[in-house]
Every structure is written in structure tokens, then in C-alpha cells.
């Protein structure tokens, strides 16, 4: 009994030491490689948009993933979907184009993660700045990216217990500017004469739940 406990502890320690020992470049390469192993699949998705000035019910549908990074949503009715797919973005990352800085580890969803910051070496890169929190299994638990076109996005990712690193739930946090619509367009003509507030930025969230994966 004592022997087996010792072996178990040694295995865990080896695993931790191994994950700590690999370099930040290797860690990121491992994460990317792992993401690239994901085969074509379909799954069910449930989307919930949480933005102050948008009222929309939960949307359900299907997601079809085709390698290398094509994602198609089949959703009934009108839906607002995240413009960025975090995992595709990382999958296509070329490490040599970025300088990687390792910061202090942080705990994300009860998982101790190594914390990497990536800064592009070239100006024309779409990503201006990125930060990744990677767990010991080389899964990206949290990702924060600033892009030239879409601004800042933050993704919190929970994984399925599958062979492939496919998400169980992704929470997308983003900044969004409040809508300023000409009152003539909304029929609220008297709004012209009400004091207009400055267009403020609010925090928006999209929660995406994934289930019933079918790998092909």
C-alpha cells in the first residue's frame, strides 16, 4: 500500500517537474500541436449572449468543424456568434513570429497554469498582444488577445475529457461600444431632444456550451 502510494506521488511529481521543465516555447508548441490533432467533428452548441443593450434568447444549433480551421454554425433563427475562434487562432500561430515572455503561474478554474505573453516580431501581424494560460496537459485554459481589427477578446476554456482538446464550454469576454442609433430610425422622434450620453464601452460576454461530439 505504502509502495503504491509512493509510486503515485513520484509519478505526479515527475509529471509536474516535467511540465515545469519544458521551455515556454516547447509548452506553446505542444499546445499548438495538440490542437492540430483535432479531427473533423460535429457537435451541439448552445449560445447565450450577455450584453447590456442586446436582448436575445439562448440559441441552439450544430457546429461543424472541418480541418484545418473551418467552423460552420447551423443555428435556427438569427444568432450572434463570436467572430473569433480562439483555438483556430492559436492553431495557426507560428511561434517564430512571436517573442514569448513567461510570467508567474496563475490558477484558472482550479488548474495551475503557466502564464505566457506573446508579442509579435512584425508590425503587420493581426495579433498585437496575446496572453495564454496553459495547464500541465498543454491545454490552453485562458487566452487573452488584442487584435488590430476586433480589439480585445478574452476566452476562458473548459475541456471535455476526450482524447482531443475540444471545449466543453467557452466564455468569451469582450469590450463593446454602446449602440448610438439615430432616433428617426427607431421611430422615437422625441429622443432627439433628450440629453445624449457619451458612447460608453461595456463588457460583453458570450457563453458557448458544447456537447455530443461526433468525430469523423
Amino acid at each position: 500500500m505504502r509502495n503504491s502510494l509512493n509510486i503515485f506521488l513520484i509519478l505526479i511529481l515527475t509529471n509536474i517537474l516535467h511540465s515545469q521543465n519544458i521551455t515556454k516555447e516547447e509548452l506553446l508548441t505542444n499546445s499548438i500541436k495538440k490542437l492540430r490533432t483535432i479531427p473533423n467533428y460535429t457537435c451541439d452548441v448552445e449560445l447565450h449572449v450577455d450584453v447590456d443593450f442586446i436582448k436575445i434568447g439562448e440559441r441552439k444549433g450544430k457546429l461543424i468543424f472541418i480541418k484545418p480551421d473551418s467552423i460552420k454554425y447551423e443555428i435556427e433563427g438569427f444568432a450572434l456568434l463570436p467572430k473569433e475562434d480562439p483555438l483556430s487562432k492559436i492553431k495557426n500561430l507560428s511561434i517564430k513570429d512571436y517573442a514569448i515572455i513567461e510570467l508567474d503561474p496563475e490558477t484558472i478554474n482550479n488548474e495551475l497554469c503557466r502564464n505566457l505573453k506573446i508579442i509579435p516580431n512584425y508590425e503587420n501581424n493581426d495579433i498585437i498582444l496575446g496572453q495564454l494560460w496553459i495547464d500541465k496537459k498543454s491545454n490552453i485554459r485562458k487566452l487573452s488577445i488584442f487584435t488590430k481589427e476586433q480589439g480585445k477578446f478574452e476566452f476562458l476554456i473548459e475541456y471535455m475529457n476526450y482524447k482531443y482538446p475540444v471545449p466543453k464550454m467557452i466564455t468569451v469576454n469582450f469590450d463593446i461600444k454602446d449602440m448610438k442609433i439615430p432616433p428617426g430610425m427607431t421611430g422615437e422622434l422625441n429622443k432627439f431632444y433628450k440629453k445624449e450620453k457619451n458612447q460608453k464601452t461595456t463588457l460583453g460576454r458570450i457563453y458557448i456550451n458544447y456537447s455530443n461530439y461526433v468525430f469523423k
Binding site: D52, I54, F78, L81, M179, G204
Partner: protein
């Protein structure tokens, strides 16, 4: 009474001006939906530009529901004019032609004659709105199909297709009450006038003046605006709030019903005492 209503309806529907209203509604719907067919995406994109930088949108945003919703906004400007063309003439037309004398010599009470005209005016108004709603919905269905409705009003609300039919029904009902205020106002003025120009132009002028005051004099007239009937012309939009404000909807219905009763009562009192000999 039924005979009187039939006769009034016969008179309304044998006048060419009645069909101006129907023709205009059909033309407005066709013209609007064709422009939406070709330019709808650009218009929607202009409104939702802010969202397009953050979200990827999926689904049919330009559809029969959106077309009908936008067209309903026409209630505020176009439909009152078309209503007045017919209902403004309903009593004054007979006064100017002299047939009112013949009518009132028949063994029908003046109240019955008056209400037969009011009911005929209401039927015409209802028909006009039904044609607007149904034609817009049916043509929209053939051009764009159905889909969820995106309403831009104090933010963006997206209604599921399944959640829309009842909203449209009640929105049309509230919109119809607004238009019945116009009908009753024009009938009231018609009871006073001896020619058709006064009630038609008078009703339109009153609506325009009140609309202008609502917009330009918002700060000055704000306390009384909730009691002005034109303020309620676009209150059918309350039915497209995510969380319905029942109190506001009830207030709108009560205020407008009050005006309908007031205008019709004033019209009736004057009509009953109207001097038809001079």
C-alpha cells in the same frame, strides 16, 4: 341600422377616392419591399455596424417580419392622410352636395345615421390597416421568407419567429386604435364642415402640428405630451419590448379610447343639432 351601414359602405366604395388609399398602401408596400430586397442588407449593415465588428451574424435578418415592422412605422405619417381622404368626407361631402337633407328626412334618427357613418368609417380604416399588414406580411414572405425579428430601439432586441405573431396582432390592434383616433377626429370635423376640404386638410393639419410640437417642443410641452393623442401613434412599438410594460400599454389604450369617445361624442352632439336648412 345594418341597412344604413350597408348604404354608407356602398357610398364609400363607389367613390374613386376610396381606392386611392388602398392603391397608395399597396404601392408603399411594394416600393418599400423592393427597395429592401435590393438595399436591405446595406441598411441593416449601417444600423448594426457596431455589432459586426464584434459578432459574426447568422440567420435571415431581412425577412417578412422586419419588413412589416418597419412598414408599421408608416402609421405615423402616411396612413392618417389616407384615412382622412375618405372619413373626412363622410358627412361634409353630403352637406356640400345637399344629400344630407334627403337623408335626414328619412325615418331614421340622426344618431343612427351618424353611427352608421362612424361604423362605415371604422370599417374602411380597419380594411386599410388589414391590407397594409397582410399584404406586407404575405409579400415579405414571398420575397424574404420568415425569420427572427431584430428590433433596434433603446438597444437591440431579437425576437424569435415563434414569439412574433401575437406581438404583431396586438401591435396592429394598438396601431388600429391610434388610427381610429384619426378617423373619429376627421368625422367630428366633418360633422361641423360644409365642404370636404376642411375636415381632410384640418385633420392632417392638426396631426402635423401636434407631431411638430411633440418633436420640436419636447422640452416645453413634455408634461402634457402623454395626454396628446399623436404621442401615442407609435406606441404599438411597446409590444416589441422584451419585457412588456403593461401599464404603458394600458395608458395608451385608455388615452386614445378617451379621444375616440370625445371626438365622436362632440361630432354626434353637433350632428344631432345640425341646421340642414341653411
Amino acid at each position: 341600422m345594418l341597412k344604413l351601414i350597408k348604404l354608407e359602405l356602398f357610398k364609400i366604395f363607389t367613390r374613386p377616392r376610396t381606392y386611392i388609399g388602398f392603391g397608395a398602401v399597396v404601392f408603399i408596400v411594394i416600393a418599400f419591399q423592393i427597395s429592401m430586397y435590393f438595399q436591405g442588407k446595406a441598411i441593416v449593415s449601417f444600423i448594426l455596424d457596431n455589432l459586426e465588428t464584434t459578432f459574426q451574424m447568422s440567420g435571415n435578418i431581412i425577412n417578412a417580419n422586419l419588413a412589416t415592422y418597419i412598414l408599421l412605422n408608416g402609421l405615423l405619417i402616411h396612413i392618417p392622410i389616407l384615412i382622412c381622404l375618405v372619413t373626412g368626407d363622410i358627412i361634409s361631402g353630403e352637406s356640400s352636395s345637399g344629400t344630407i337633407r334627403l337623408w335626414l328626412q328619412k325615418p331614421f334618427s340622426r344618431s343612427k345615421v351618424y353611427f352608421s357613418k362612424v361604423i362605415s368609417g371604422i370599417i374602411y380604416t380597419l380594411l386599410l390597416l388589414m391590407i397594409l399588414g397582410l399584404f406586407s406580411y404575405v409579400l415579405g414572405y414571398f420575397l424574404f421568407g420568415f425569420g427572427d425579428l431584430v428590433v433596434v430601439k433603446q438597444g437591440i432586441t431579437i425576437f424569435d419567429q415563434d414569439d412574433l405573431l401575437w406581438r404583431f396582432f396586438y401591435a396592429f390592434l394598438v396601431g388600429t386604435i391610434s388610427m381610429l383616433v384619426v378617423t373619429s377626429l376627421s368625422i367630428m370635423i366633418s360633422a361641423f364642415a360644409t365642404n370636404s376640404i376642411v375636415p381632410i386638410v384640418g385633420t392632417i393639419a392638426i396631426i402635423i402640428v401636434l407631431n411638430v410640437l411633440t418633436v420640436l417642443g419636447y422640452n416645453v410641452f413634455e408634461p402634457i405630451l402623454p395626454y396628446v393623442f399623436t404621442t401615442h401613434f407609435n406606441r404599438w412599438q411597446l409590444l416589441f419590448d422584451y419585457n412588456l410594460d403593461y401599464h404603458e400599454i394600458a395608458t395608451t389604450i385608455v388615452v386614445q379610447s378617451f379621444y375616440i369617445i370625445l371626438f365622436l361624442t362632440i361630432g354626434l352632439i353637433h350632428f344631432k343639432n345640425k341646421d340642414i336648412l341653411s
